[in-house]
Symmetry: D2
Subunit: 337 residues, 4 copies
């Protein structure tokens, strides 16, 4: 057997060469923390991209980005509605509870880890307005979702309307935001603030970054508190220019979109190969396939790495830098299992 | 006026070329989080350096390293004795309180931000053993201290003895541990676990790193909990190999010691130049000098960047990569103010 | 319409005369906090009742008792398996999250708010053993449950066995423990520590108390930490003798059992009257009945106070001091709706 | 030796007969939590007393009252300036840190545990306005102080002015507010909201109560959040009418003032007897006296209970119900030591 072909996670990808080059270029003596020119340029760069004034912070991980966002949106004694399968609920080791000081995640159901405004309204309506019950303060959705579904701008806006009606804040976990943008072709403004989103965790790590995400505040009044919480959480790196450099490199020349398109295209190929075994429509870079235990074993024997996702299901994730021959091999293999 | 000569912080330094090279070498597709070969080698490398079995974790910042260490050593309802001028008290935006869930920092006094066992015992003796009073659980010292003083192995061991007697855990903030080792010439084992230290925050960021510190557990039973807390704090970077690579690069060929020696030597020169204006003995890479406001203004007009440190005092920090001509210029300037 | 007939909650009851008398007897100058003779006698009294050495603390409310118990059983970064309809999840405003500093409640399903060992095992098996997932540390059950079901000693013991196997701690919320004891006739030892329970919230407020519950530690090593957390939560009343007095008065002459029997008997009558409308078997002092909206309105028009419990369901709770004529009237009314 | 004469704490007092009578009168079936008529009347009664609209909550302990007040005034990432000897810092087992989720107490110095506006300003000026430093959000003073000093209305107002200037919230720990009012003769309005106080912990436990304090919000917008936090902390007693009854009984017929005057008068007598041994002026019901170890032993041998307060100092507290002969005996004894 040759080298492993990793479809386990887009976290297994390499950083994009432009990211490494930008970091090398930042490798001089400079101002510490976020006082350098690169860090200070993030607001303007993101404002330009989002077509309005925004405030942006760099953060080393998506978990920290999400947890910081939720901490500024929800006090300790209230709750956040999210999908039962959301990353914030299942894959962050309780970071939202840690950063919010114990806010409660209020789990809702929906297809492919996606929530409709109606799903959320139903969950909200269950919560009696009573001092004995934790009351909701925010909604968090993931776009693209944990099952590779993307929201349209209209779907986000329907949730944004609900949030406004119920006086809730609205967070989007965009660890794979680039993939959602690439899939829908929507403008980043339409997918976020025009649809009522208050804060976006804008992911770059799965998109060619080395270790940098952006927190984008459409309600810019929230950014100062977030920066204090970021420092308090030990996330204000003293050489922040190396994080800013990554984000800027990926936004440059639309590399973030090219990377997302490449990953999405690979996933689409795999989805087609999976045929009727496909569990969720492929709207980003993740592919969920029904496989038996022996089929899974056979795939692994051929060198493919991937996660089992419940009984009889497998998850394959395509990275921005996934070798074409690995994708072709897996597509062929999926066609024959 | 030419380019700024930064003596404000060793955080302003560049990463060491070997660090950048090691990161570039890690820039391939690999296992995520801390499952890669570099991350998995840290325990063995640190065990070899410390002459005993230790467990080591990478962490992106010194603030996170300290706060994580304190969180595993002290429950929410107890306290940590540290110096009034300690970094954990003054410069971490309350990270220790955040990570420990509200443990109390119990401030003690001592010369040059250094605590003797007697200083600590005096502080401990003030705390009535009563359910109304927060009881201490741990001691934290900084080596080298915030005023550039280094502990001898014997001084640390005296505190370690006290900790054992009083059943307290013992943490060392070693953001400038390399400088202390270089200054004292003591072995790293003698300065830490042989002297009773339970956990060391072993700093690399101020020593040529880009964004990586090590948490070294001499009580290895603490490491598993620390790793959970690390993830929960959003500090488990998905591409952790890039942090491990930095630490390994700096430990290789004793670069960490060479870097510390270079910085210490520069500081010693400045200390000599400062003469009777010198406030604290120079035992690491920080120099505290009495200057009037007009002298400070004159130094700044000459291009030197530094922090005022209370009224009539200035702090100059020498980095591992501080240009020799900058040091010479500042020495000359200090000799003439 | 006459005076309200309150079946809304056993919290609406009056304190038992013996409770008031015991408090009046304690109304002299005495030692503060828990240093008085009454408070100091609790350990012995409870040890006698439970047929082994236990440690007991008074607490003013059931919410505080539960949250304190969970905080000593579960660290901030782990979780507690409980029923989806448990009081700790739904009716304590997030107190468990507050006291545990953000531990996650892991919701399981079971009939009548009761969990079997199998229900719990199924929930535990869903949790991948991974640093990204919050891991469980404890199980909490309510006895009698929120739907008036009581556990047999054997049912509790099956859960205790599971807890031991999975190395989890075991808490019982006994806000209506007296009702469960009265219903099952089991010994308090068999229902708790002999079945593997580590801590019991032993309720007295719904049982004739004014404002006092007991926290009973079968693992007596936990009590010291609980007492510190109790003080830290502002629950160490300076005149604690008035809480101890209540508990002692209710335990005296088996008043707690008599009160529970009276309440259970009333509930049984109502359950019989409800006939096929009854939703859950009556095994304590709560009765859940299917009623239409117009039937509910009619009952209210007759002076009965009760809670709607989801669509088409009503909850009636019988207190220890519920007037017999009120019970008879409600039974008659339920027979006719 | 006869019975102990307790001067250790006003917590050792008995409840006032009117308090017990009011509680007995409340001992009927009633609405749970704070929905009863007594609880609902607190706002109006306190508004009348304070000559403006206020919102008031009952709380079982002074520690909980203080910690709740601070939690609504200060976010987790900021700090509270208080005296180094304040009850919130020394005698509440870290309750402020628990309730605020880790806010930092920022200790200032001042005579007799009293802070002047200048003392506070000096402390505030030490805090660099920097993301690395915890920034202040609130000021907390104790009136009467832990050393029995009372603030005049003008002294409070000077601090209130400072708070407004620096945009800080202002809390008064009034565990012995009655004693301060009795001593100064000032109106309660002048001592609180007219002087800029946002929240008052209004103590009744040391004043003849059994277990009830009031939280009085002059910024009434804070009360709703405080009530949620109160429930979340397990402090929403289900039979809250028994707490409301106590407060109302003590406010009736100026009993709270009569009780405070009695206690203050006893303390004044003791202060006179202590003569030049007196350490702090007696402005409430506490008396601090210089005594040698052998003198302290001699006093204890005569049956007097009191606390040592540092080396060579003793604290005597006079309760509202302190027997006159005990006061006379202690005065005589102090005159002869």
């Amino acid at each position: 057997m040759g080298v492993a072909m990793r479809f386990s996670s887009d976290n297994a990808a390499a950083p994009h060469p432009a990211v490494l080059e930008a970091m090398a270029n930042a490798a001089r003596r400079d101002t510490a923390y976020d006082g350098d020119a690169l860090s200070r340029s993030l607001d303007a760069i993101m404002s330009n991209l989002f077509e309005r004034d925004v405030a942006a912070l760099w953060v080393a991980t998506g978990t920290a980005a999400n947890a910081l966002a939720l901490a500024v949106l929800c006090p300790p004694y209230r709750g956040i509605v999210c999908h039962r399968d959301a990353h914030v609920q299942n894959d962050e080791a309780g970071a939202p509870e840690f950063y919010t000081h114990g806010a409660k995640l209020m789990l809702a159901d929906g297809n492919a880890a996606k929530l409709t405004a109606a799903d959320i309204a139903e969950r909200l309506d269950e919560i009696a307005d009573d001092v004995h019950r934790v009351q909701p303060a925010a909604i968090s959705i993931t776009n693209a979702t944990e099952y590779g579904a993307s929201y349209t701008a209209a779907e986000v806006a329907a949730i944004g309307d609900l949030a406004r009606e119920r006086r809730l804040r609205f967070h989007m976990d965009g660890a794979r935001f680039a993939n959602a943008v690439a899939h829908t072709g929507a403008s980043v403004a339409d997918l976020t603030w025009r649809a009522g989103v208050d804060v976006l965790s804008f992911g770059f790590v799965k998109n060619g970054g080395l270790g940098a995400e952006a927190l984008v505040f459409f309600d810019t009044s929230l950014a100062a508190e977030a920066r204090i919480r970021l420092k308090r959480a030990g996330h204000l790196l003293s050489k922040g220019r190396f994080l800013a450099a990554q984000i800027i490199a990926l936004l440059g020349e639309d590399r973030w979109l090219d990377n997302a398109r490449a990953a999405n295209a690979g996933a689409t190929l795999l989805g087609l190969a999976a045929g009727t075994r496909l569990i969720h429509a492929v709207e980003a870079n993740e592919v969920f396939v029904r496989v038996t235990a022996s089929e899974a074993a056979s795939l692994r024997a051929q060198g493919f790495e991937f996660y089992d996702w419940g009984a009889g299901e497998a998850r394959f994730v395509v990275s921005w830098d996934q070798p074409e021959d690995e994708i072709a091999s897996l597509a062929a293999a999926l066609g024959h299992v």
